[in-house]
């Protein structure tokens, strides 16, 4: 009942489609070495990685880096223009915009990374299970995938978030935890299909057939051969997935779903800035800029990784 030819491109508008026909190269140590070498020669990708690294460091060490606590209110300085004391100006609530962007990086990057983690776990489990668990499990899992896929994802996220925010989970991480869950729960479908397609095509490859002939156990084949060889397209997909999760979260913030005040995140900052945008552009400009830079950095890094991990597309 498989309705999709092995390796057929998954239907998606993200970068995943581009990777679809990447076939895994044989697993040798030099593969990763070569890839790293190619990656370091790609200056744009390195720049992306560097920007991401800087942001990650700033996010982790926010209390040290930030000029003020994110929740500190400066009475009388409401939506103030940038000054030396507040280089990015202040927000509608009178907080320092720079401080909130730095702390916001925490939440926005956390969304990107944790969502990818959830996607990775579910995606590999479902995709791997489908590819390797026999025909019946494959049918079952793929049918399940169809159902989740048919759900309009952003809309489903909104509903799931609304449901979960009423529960005890709603309070974790200032409301962010349910956002992770909601975006993660609907986001794994493409990865699961990618993993399944990769593994099905790998199973027909000579080195796997050889390993089977040599009497290697299924688990061993899965762990030693299939998983490592599926890794590179997965890494690329996850890299492209980070900014799209951040975008999703920002979009949700814009219609009023997301972290709880006084926590900061970029989408929320844009939404709050919109309330005053005719009076001053700055509260919306800086978080939008942060979002754009993050998006581009991950895009550059993703492009670089794809080129590095699959030299054929060069």
């Amino acid at each position: 009942m498989t309705h999709e030819a092995a390796g057929a491109p998954p239907t998606t508008t993200t970068g995943v489609a581009v990777l679809a026909d990447i076939a895994a190269a044989t697993a040798t140590r030099s593969l990763w070495g070569d890839a790293l070498h190619r990656l370091t020669r790609n200056r744009l990708a390195i720049l992306g990685a560097a920007v991401i690294a800087v942001m990650a460091v700033a996010a982790v060490f926010a209390p040290l880096v930030s000029p003020y606590p994110y929740q500190q209110i400066f009475p009388g300085k409401i939506i103030a223009d940038p000054t030396l004391a507040h280089p990015f100006g202040t927000t509608l609530a009178g907080q320092d915009t720079l401080a909130r962007i730095i702390y916001g990086a925490r939440n926005s990057l956390a969304v990107g990374v944790f969502v990818q983690f959830i996607i990775l776990v579910i995606g590999v489990a479902v995709g791997g299970g489908a590819a390797f668990g026999g025909k019946r499990l494959d049918g079952l899992l793929m049918r399940f995938t169809d159902i989740v896929y048919a759900f309009p994802d952003l809309l489903f996220v909104i509903m799931l978030q609304q449901v979960l925010s009423g529960t005890r989970l709603g309070g974790y991480m200032g409301g962010l935890f349910v956002v992770f869950l909601a975006i993660g729960f609907v986001g794994w479908v493409n990865l699961a299909r990618l993993v399944r397609g990769q593994m099905l095509s790998l199973r027909e490859r000579d080195f796997v057939i050889a390993a089977e002939a040599l009497g290697a156990s299924r688990i061993r084949i899965f762990l030693r051969h299939l998983l490592p060889n599926t890794l590179s397209p997965v890494i690329v997909a996850l890299t492209f997935g980070v900014p799209s999760a951040i975008f999703t979260e920002a979009t949700l913030s814009f219609i009023g779903i997301g972290v709880r005040p006084p926590l900061a995140d970029w989408g929320n900052m844009i939404y709050d800035g919109y309330g005053a945008v005719l009076a001053t552009p700055w509260p919306i400009f800086f978080p939008a800029l942060a979002l754009a830079i993050t998006f581009m950095s991950f895009q550059f890094l993703g492009d670089g990784l794809r080129d590095a991990l699959d030299p054929r597309t060069r």
Partner: protein, 310 residues
Amino acid sequence: MTGYLIRRLLWIIPVLWSITLITFLLMHAVKGGPFESGETKASTAARDALKAKYHLDQPIWVQYRYYMEGLVQGDFGPDLATQGLSVNELLSRSWKPTVVLGVLTTIYATALGISLGILAATRRNSVIDYLSVGFATIGASTPNFVLGIMLVLVFAVKYKLLPAIYPSDGLTDWHAWVLPVIALGSLPAAYIARLTRASMLEVMTQDYIRTARAKGLREGAIVLRHIVRNALIPVITAIGPIAATLVTGSFIIEYFFSIPGIGRAYVQAILARDYPLIMATTLLYALVVAVANLTVDMLYAVIDPRIRYS
């Protein structure tokens, strides 16, 4: 192939049924009800009367049965926010703006994306290439609501050239669509441009192009007949899911521009706990996604003879 197509089409039914079940359970798990008012001055007895009228005082499985009984007869039930109207009536009005927005945006994104991609690839490293690659990068990294805000401020508020919100006669007024289409379509346009450019560059290095050149064909003919035709195959297959995403993902733009379409109805329905409308919009969107998904799989088979469905 036909047997496969029928099986796939039939499979949509259980998918949609699962979605009704999941959505029904989820939305009833959201706190508050359709007749819980947000402000003061509302009476309890009236609310109870309304709840009874719409069976909301019954256990959830009874409510689900009522709903499914209506649904199999094509009745999406009453609209709880505007009591007296049916969801069918509401949808019969609101699908139009959503489809118009989806179609116009798909045309815009495709036309702009493909032409930019072709221009960039054929004039590599020229100003045009740089500009289109720049556009692709900006377009892809600006969320559509940020773009929407900027467009409204400049073209509606400052220069008063275009409406800031959907005018009442929007369906027949092209002005209504310019800003929403640009806001919604620029990200997919950027994506299509990237895809086209990459695909073009790949095709250009193929042997048969070299052969064509060697045969002394005119450059224009090579580009049109050989490169573009072959390069567009992956692009065209990408447009299906993009169109589906545009239709189902337009709610933020509909919300922002007050376009009375299905997306805005969905957001309003969730905020108002308008259960039948939530169900109907979710189901419609799921149908769009399922059909688009199927179409794309079929398209692959048509374009790439190596793929066989059984």
